[in-house]
Symmetry: C2
Amino acid sequence: MTPKPIPRPTDTELEILNVLWLNGASTVKQVHEALSGGSQRGYTTVLKLMQIMSEKGLLERDERTRAHIYSAHCDEEHTQRQLMGDLLDRAFSGSASKLVMQALASREASDEELAEIRQLLNELEGESQ
Amino acid sequence: MTPKPIPRPTDTELEILNVLWLNGASTVKQVHEALSGGSQRGYTTVLKLMQIMSEKGLLERDERTRAHIYSAHCDEEHTQRQLMGDLLDRAFSGSASKLVMQALASREASDEELAEIRQLLNELEGESQ
DNA sequence: ACTTTTCTACGAAAATCTTCGTATCATTAC
DNA sequence: GTAATGATACGAAGATTTTCGTAGAAAAGT
């Protein structure tokens, strides 16, 4: 009855998802080439990873063409929220503010970014009533 | 020559670290009991995990007593920053603001938390000059 | 047609993580 | 001193992730 709980992607899987989010639906070959900066995984390694990711529900596969075309099943923001929420629970006891503190402390955000965040805070505070 | 790069803790290892941060230095027995809410791992499983974590440099071990006493090698905030930075790079292309957005969007922060974050923003903006 | 190229499928090995049973050693209780 | 208890050490199995070699099917080139 449970349809399928899509698992949290592993580090390697996330690399592949990043390519697909950036470049859109792609063949294994395209992903392998896009990845080839540094990673240096064999072609069939990437193929196998993407096949398994399909089985897990992380990717979707269009088999109508000879070179199958893969795309991410979840969009980037959804996955970001999933990973965030996970980390939040596992390492921050669910406290978003602690997490935000560490994020801002560990990386110097640009003034632009700070302004963006401030903007978001205003919106949130507005609607919290 | 490279002394030892402490690896990112796995999910299970993080559970153990959380206990040690919360309760302070502890024996395996204490950790096992603290964990026993729900996790239901055998005693020797926890023992083995903690032994391996020591080898990895995640824990420190005081063997002077019969029941060895373990403590986290890194403090909680350091580890939080490590995990944050990692996620930032792997899933957010290093953009702290995007991450903060998702954090605030995916969990409703209380007004108190929002105020805390606003406070931090003010401090950061002040010192950025 | 047939040879070469370009794919997928499959299986299996290596690496890591998680689990636990058994052995063993030290301490305490009798 | 011997037995019972409480701890660590060790080894090994299971699960998952990552890797890739080989085989075979489909397409393209000649």
